[in-house]
Symmetry: C2
Subunit: 136 residues, 2 copies
């Protein structure tokens, strides 16, 4: 349960790689893919997504590539994870719209809410800058 998919794992690896580049330097998707050992076309999709959300900037043509859309210190792990995995929702019933019929007479929902907010809190407290720092 609660497992990160490969996509999520790849997304994190990729953006950490970007964060480690010297500021202003552009990285090619082929380069990132090779360095992080992720299938290139798959990683490309992930980064397209990042670009749409403004997490990274993309540039086409010769000399193009990707760079962070903001300082790594202002990108949280939560943003990265949710960008590719969708919102952190431990139970469908927590989603808006047609709540489940059991909502009223069910005490489990508050528990899932707690799980949700705790996980969000943790992931929110971690920035890509921290993750990109070299471990000695």
């Amino acid at each position: 349960m609660m497992e990160l998919t490969r996509k999520g794992e790849y997304a994190i690896r990729g953006i950490i790689y970007l964060a480690r580049q010297t500021p202003g330097k552009m990285a090619l998707i082929s380069e990132i893919a090779e360095a992080t050992e992720v299938p290139q076309t798959f990683l490309a999709k992930i980064f397209q997504n990042f670009a749409k959300l403004g997490l990274v900037n993309s540039y086409r043509g010769t000399g193009g590539g990707f760079m962070l859309g903001r300082p790594a210190s202002r990108i949280t792990l939560r943003e990265v994870v949710e960008a590719v995995e969708g919102p952190i929702i431990p139970n469908r019933c927590l989603m808006g719209g047609s709540a489940c019929d059991f909502d009223s007479h069910c005490n489990v929902h508050p528990v899932w809410r707690r799980v949700q907010s705790e996980v969000v809190r943790i992931l929110e407290s971690v920035t890509i800058e921290e993750l990109a720092r070299e471990t000695k």
Copy 2:
């Protein structure tokens, strides 16, 4: 991300139903399935699993059925969830055995460990007895 499957949802509904029975009373799988609006054969598998783990006791033949294997106050939500969903592991890399290559130079792992222990802590702190209490 982090979503409980239907199986997990069904499992919780089912065991809560059992916990609400008057002590010593047996409940048929057909009865539980109908009350909780879960496909009967699917719920049967879930309860077979519960029985193996001792969460419930099962009895065959006339007058048979299911009852809790322990007082509801001594069954945690964690046990129920893990019984059907497997261990709570936010990232494959947290699993034993062949750790991922990136383990050494990756700062993300401690974060997943924190997520894991927080979620486990929350689910562990909730008993089926609490969940089964009637909400007014």
